[in-house]
Amino acid sequence: MSKGWKHRPPAAFRLDHGQVIVGKTRKTRPPSDHPVQIVQDAEFEALAITIDDSARSSRRGARWGVLFWIALGGLLLLAMGLAITGLITDLFARNQELGWIGLALAILAAVSLIIICVREIIGLMRLATVENLRERAAEMIVGDNRVEARALVHELLHLTRKMPRLARGRATLEGHLAEIIDGSDMVRLAERELMTPLDQQARKLISAAATRVSVVTALSPRAVIDLLFVFGTALSLVRRLAFLYGVRPGTLSLARLTRHVVVHLAMTGGLATSDSLIQQLLGHGVAAKLSARLGEGVLNGLLTARFGLAAIDIIRPLPFAALPRPTLGDLMSEVLGSFGGGEERQPSRESNLASAEAQ
């Protein structure tokens, strides 16, 4: 009997039958006198989970600019090596002890350089992992692939294993891994369990930074000072957000991250303007009527908040699907509340959420 598809006929095996053995794992080979072995799937891990890495972006081909920098860097490294070797030989020529000290210092410098490099590379890799996770999660929400979603959640759990505030969420999520939940639902569930506390914290960080920038801009005597301050705050904001979401960047990955955020901001800037232009005008206009410095402060705070929101988009390991994306108006009402009104006009969290919903 031929079928249009690969078909195996139905069958049933009584568990109390003499020729059937029931095991928990598939590791054990069945003894030869038991022709049928039943392996219970206590967890889905029993199934081999394979991760398709082809989704990652393809490497760009070698380009002349890259080659130039590599060659130049090599030359500089050689020159430095030569100079240091020369220095140490000179030191030895002058005095034996001085030579040893020089050698020890050079070795120390080399070792710490290697460690720094390794950490930077790890940081960059972690950043790449997070980006990769987010891309795959976005695909999974559309594709609904159960096996891959499970693998993704495992990776997420691994990424967040050192975050104490997620202990409960992680435990809940691990409990749900054994159930039959579809791919997109699994990703949403993971987002709700793991990202909720982080998102709240991120919101607080951003609004605190924005408030700080607003106050300093309004009070600072010189434009240079607030320029520097805005720049420094933005950088530290990215760094703290990155730590919050588990990226833990080094210097290089921070630079890379900041570049991504700026690019993202530039790309989504047009979109963001349209939905919050009224608020900007309103906020700026009213504040500017009170004082020009105050208006400037609000504007700078707004920019910082937007920068922070862009950073979240880049750093968050999962896209916003189950949870609402924090919005500028939402954050700015917090900033303005603490900035303009002080204690008597502290907006409640409910009204913030309500305004976010209304948008």
Binding site: M1, S2, K3, G4, W5, K6, H7, R8, P9, P10, A11, A12, F13, R14, L15, D16, V20, V22, R26, P30, P35, V36, Q37, I38, V39, Q40, D41, A46, R146, T172, H176, E179, I180, I181, D182, D185, R188, L189, R192, A322, P324, R349, E350, L353, A354, E357
Partner: protein
């Protein structure tokens, strides 16, 4: 000339009556919708239609849903409950005093204590569930959920709303002459041959015809020859209308067109068919289906696949006809005022626990294929449609069976006494690992006419699929002593059906 004109007016009169009746019906519906709109403004209510043919699992679904909401089930994907925004849910007195209450307590006790599934539903029952929740913006709200349970056989009647007696009679006859059914209809066909539609009306003849016709319908259902396409449904599950004239009619062999001669058997049958529609079908539709907000259509796809290609084709047609009866589409203010529409439909392939989870996607594809026309129509009208493989109560665990070099993805469960597979008969106590057969990736393979698969009706010994019915699981209890009902994707179904109203 004048005779021909008179005949034409006679032909058109019933149609005009039909139009007037429909118009009055629409006005009634609109008036009620308007009244309900006012009430719902202050007390948000969802009428959830649980639609399904008999044995599709409506009662079990409602029981599991109510239990999960009231006693706090494990619903990770149902956001409002998982994040703790639902403060509590409780059963409230239902709106309709004339309808009996859904016997949730007894059903759950039977499931937990006796480990038996609920018996088939014999009458209509209703349930009202009130959910107290906190919206995302922090306000306290309540949402009322009205659910109706009814015998699945009655659903078969809905397509009759648009059919005249003559059309129904010829369709029923055509179906009864097709192959596996023809054997069961032998007695009835023999009696039918003795009847003269244009002869004098005779109560005894009508009684015999109705009895034989009912026996044929019942035989079809019991032998799993066809699990659907057996209207009128009240013949199978009469409720309190047994032996009334409205249930004493049968199809006749009609050779001529035009109106029946006055006082003939044909006229009598036709009159009774009409009163069946106006006494039974229309009120049923009006009271329970015309004002639904959300709908879940439970389909026991596996039973149809079990029975064979004919049953599967039957199911496809019946689903199409039933789904055509519902008003679907995007909700607008006007529609909310005058004619409620169903804006979300969930098509659920039930009893997904009879399959290993790796085959669930295929099951969903098959159901999607069976309902594709109705789905496309609903989506065009602006309704959201989703397809899901679901088990309201999961009665099996999963296992991998290794036999020689073969690995078979199986489910572990206790088959109900009397279920057979490959010559083995189960006693209802023994646990077994069941491999039901591989479903195809492409659903059209199941419906191909040239290479039909073997159903268990025609090939009881070497059927291609055997989905065994299994007993309810031994339940674990939570720390509070509440039985936790395991399920597959019930939370996803809830999220789709009412999740958006709980934000």
């Amino acid at each position: 000339m004048s005779r021909a004109a008179g005949k034409a007016s006679l032909v058109y009169r019933p149609i005009r009556n039909l139009v007037v009746a429909e118009f009055i019906e629409e006005i009634r519906l609109a008036a009620r919708a308007l009244a309900e709109f006012g009430v719902h403004l202050f007390n948000p209510t969802i009428r959830l239609g649980v639609t399904g043919l008999s044995r599709a699992g409506k009662t079990v679904f409602i029981t599991a849903l109510v239990h999960g909401l009231v006693r706090g089930g494990r619903f990770p994907v149902f956001e409002a409950l998982a994040t703790g925004r639902i403060a509590r849910a409780y059963l409230a007195p239902q709106a309709d005093d004339a309808v009996s209450r859904f016997d949730y307590e007894n059903h759950i006790n039977a499931l937990v204590d006796k480990r038996s599934w609920p018996t088939s539903t014999r009458q209509i029952s209703e349930l009202r569930l009130v959910i107290e929740y906190q919206s995302l913006s922090g306000y306290q709200h309540t949402l009322t959920l009205d659910i109706v349970d009814y015998p699945g056989e009655w659903l078969l009647d809905l397509p009759l709303l648009t059919k005249t007696y003559e059309i129904w009679a010829s369709e029923s006859l055509r179906l009864s002459r097709q192959r596996p059914r023809a054997d069961l209809a032998k007695d009835w066909h023999a009696h039918l041959a003795t009847l003269d539609p244009e002869g004098m009306e005779d109560e005894q003849q009508a009684l015999t015809a109705a009895r034989l016709f009912t026996e044929y319908l019942r035989a079809c259902r019991d032998n799993n020859y066809a699990i659907s396409l057996l209207p009128p449904g009240r013949f199978l599950m009469p409720g309190d209308l047994a032996n009334t004239p409205a249930l004493t009619f049968a199809p006749l062999e009609l050779s001529t067109e035009g109106p029946p001669p006055a006082g003939s058997l044909w006229a009598m049958m036709r009159r009774r068919y009409e009163s069946y529609r106006s006494v039974v079908v229309r009120p049923f539709f009006r009271d329970h289906f015309a004002r639904l907000d959300r709908q879940i259509v439970l389909v026991d796809t596996l039973a149809a696949i079990n029975a064979g290609p004919d049953a599967l084709l039957d199911l496809e047609q019946e689903l199409g006809q039933v789904l055509d009866c519902f008003q679907t589409g995007r909700k607008t203010i006007l529609s909310a005022l005058l004619r409620p529409r169903i804006d979300r439909i969930l098509l659920a392939a039930t009893k997904a626990d009879h399959l290993h989870h790796t085959s669930h996607d295929r099951l969903e594809t098959i159901l999607k294929h069976l309902t594709q026309r109705a789905t496309a129509q609903a989506e065009l009208a602006g309704a959201q449609v989703d397809v899901v493989a679901l088990a309201a109560i999961r009665a099996t665990r999963e296992a991998m069976v290794r036999r020689g070099r073969q690995e078979l993805p199986c489910v572990l469960g206790v088959p109900i006494a009397g279920e057979t597979i490959a010559g083995e008969i189960f006693d209802g106590e023994t646990e077994a690992a069941i491999f039901p057969g591989d479903l195809p990736d492409d659903p059209t393979d199941l419906l191909r006419s040239d290479n039909r698969f073997h159903g268990s009706v025609t090939f009881p010994q070497n059927a291609d699929f055997r989905f065994l019915r299994v007993r309810p699981p031994v339940l674990e209890f939570t720390e509070k002593g509440v039985p936790a009902l395991p399920h597959i994707r019930l939370d996803r179904a809830l999220q789709f059906l009412i999740g958006d109203r709980l934000v």
